[in-house]
């Protein structure tokens, strides 16, 4: 470990699905408290890169480190790491057979071995934070997309993560619900959470992120402070400019 502030270090990571190279020699560092937005056209490897951070996607080459844990080391107990790396999915992935409260309690009691009462208390506290307290007894199927995603964020936070990963958290939402989820994420960022966010919400990137990583065909094409990314367009690569033109047109 070189720098005490480094939370995540991705070093020369490559990954193949059969003959297809999904990640091509990717390297990046995320410091503690930093919010990094990853964007790029679909199929460029953004989600895959993010899922390598908690070992959901194994890699064939390179090294990944989260705090003191080397994710790519075969001897690493991934379950322990994953419990400290929160992840929010595009399709929420709340457990449909458990009510909201139990969704938040399950991993707290089974993975962190918290006593039930304490886990419930923590769950209610976080539900209050995402303004879902009144829905603790509801089942996910009875909630709107935005509500489900806020619960999903709370479920991750219940594990006291050191990092939060967001995989297109607003892409599956109806437009009028995007705001409420982004609001929760902004609040998290303000509180100093280290976050990697794969998203096409450039408004969020502009307002909240520190850095933007742009990917294309499995490579990290741009990795720069957000102001450079959005304001100094002439310094950007052609692919990035092309992408920004398309996405910012509307």
């Amino acid at each position: 470990m070189k720098n005490g502030d480094d939370m995540i270090e991705i070093k020369n990571v490559s990954k193949w699905y059969g003959d297809f190279k999904v990640l091509d020699d990717c390297s990046a560092v995320v410091s503690k408290g930093e919010v990094v937005v990853v964007c790029g056209p679909s199929g460029s490897g953004k989600s895959t890169l993010m899922k390598t951070v908690n070992g959901l996607e194994p890699v064939q080459q390179g090294e990944i480190r989260v705090a003191d844990t080397v994710v790519t080391d075969r001897k690493t107990r991934l379950t322990a790491l994953r419990s400290r790396v929160g992840m929010v999915f595009q399709h929420f992935e709340l457990f449909p057979h458990l009510n909201v409260l139990d969704n938040l309690v399950l991993a707290q009691t089974k993975v962190l071995k918290r006593p039930l009462a304490e886990a419930r208390e923590r769950a209610m506290l976080l539900l209050r934070r995402v303004d879902m307290e009144a829905f603790s007894e509801k089942f996910p199927g009875n909630l709107s997309g935005g509500q489900q995603q806020r619960v999903a964020v709370a479920r991750s936070l219940a594990m006291d993560p050191m990092v939060m990963l967001f995989d297109e958290p607003t892409s599956a939402l109806d437009p009028e619900m995007v705001g409420e989820v982004l609001e929760v994420m902004m609040q998290l960022a303000r509180e100093g959470m280290t976050m990697i966010v794969v998203t096409h919400e450039m408004g969020f990137a502009r307002k909240v992120s520190n850095r933007v990583i742009f990917m294309d065909r499995g490579r990290i094409v741009e990795d720069c402070p957000k102001d450079d990314f959005f304001e100094r367009r002439d310094e950007r690569s052609e692919r990035a400019r092309d992408f920004l033109d398309k996405i910012l047109q509307h």
């Binding site: 959901l56 999915f89 709340l94 057979h97």
Partner: protein
């Protein structure tokens, strides 16, 4: 057609002197229930283990489970029963084979049918369980893992509770098939419902009454199973989800 119906035949004593015809038919029914219920309980346990094994990352376990399924699913039940009854005792060490042959013949037949029916039913049902597990979305599995749940915890708390609900309808037909397939027992001489019906219709010379009764009884059993499984489906339905029992 010149057939004289006699529905009171069930009350008359059998020509074998073992009791009334109705009583003998009832005895057949009890054998059917005894074979089917034990086979079903054992089959569900084996099917769950095999079905789960086929979805794990363990190559050896997966291979063994697949081999079992492919063998027992692809040989006709009747052939399997003959193998268990006539062939296997000869292949076992002599002492074991002799012990089996000296068993009470009725118990010997009963356990042979249970073994054959269980392994055949479990092979088919395990495929339903496997496809149920596979139909739980990849996102759910990732969500479980991303929270730090171990594989065993993921199965127990996330995957199986959802898969179980998915497999209720296909498992209902497996359950029905156990009752219907239990009739193969008659081929090795165990007079369960079908066997008893066949024999008693010969003895009494009133085949229509006996086959009518057997048909009704089989339909009553299977309809009871259907109602039972529907109730299970209703009770386990997840709030806010679409289900067949809604």
């Amino acid at each position: 057609m010149n057939y004289s119906w006699d529905w009171l035949i069930f009350l008359q004593p059998s020509i074998t002197g073992e009791g009334a015809y109705g009583y003998l038919l009832l005895r057949g029914l009890l054998w059917t229930l005894a074979i089917s219920s034990l086979s079903w309980v054992l089959a569900v346990a084996i099917a769950a283990a095999v079905g789960i094994a086929r979805t794990l990352d363990f190559v050896v376990l997966r291979f063994l489970a697949a081999t079992y399924v492919n063998i027992f699913r692809n040989i006709p039940l009747l052939v399997q029963l003959f193998l268990w009854y006539f062939v296997v005792p000869e292949l076992l060490p002599t002492a074991w084979g002799t012990a089996i042959k000296r068993m009470d013949p009725l118990l010997n037949q009963y356990f042979t049918v249970v073994v054959g029916l269980t392994l055949y039913t479990a092979a088919k049902a395990s495929e339903h369980i496997r496809s149920g597990i596979e139909s739980v979305s990849a996102g759910q599995k990732q969500a479980g893992r991303s929270l730090g749940l171990t594989t065993a915890q993921s199965y127990r708390y996330v995957i199986l509770p959802q898969a179980m609900r998915i497999v209720i309808p296909p498992m209902t037909s497996d359950f029905l098939n156990v009752f219907k397939n239990s009739s193969v027992a008659l081929t090795i001489g165990l007079l369960e419902l079908a066997g008893a019906t066949y024999q008693l219709s010969e003895f009494s010379a009133q085949p229509f009454e006996f086959f009518a009764a057997a048909t009704l009884i089989y339909m009553m059993i299977t309809y009871t199973v259907i109602l039972l499984m529907r109730a299970v489906e209703r009770c386990t339905r997840i709030a806010g989800s679409l289900g067949a029992a809604s």
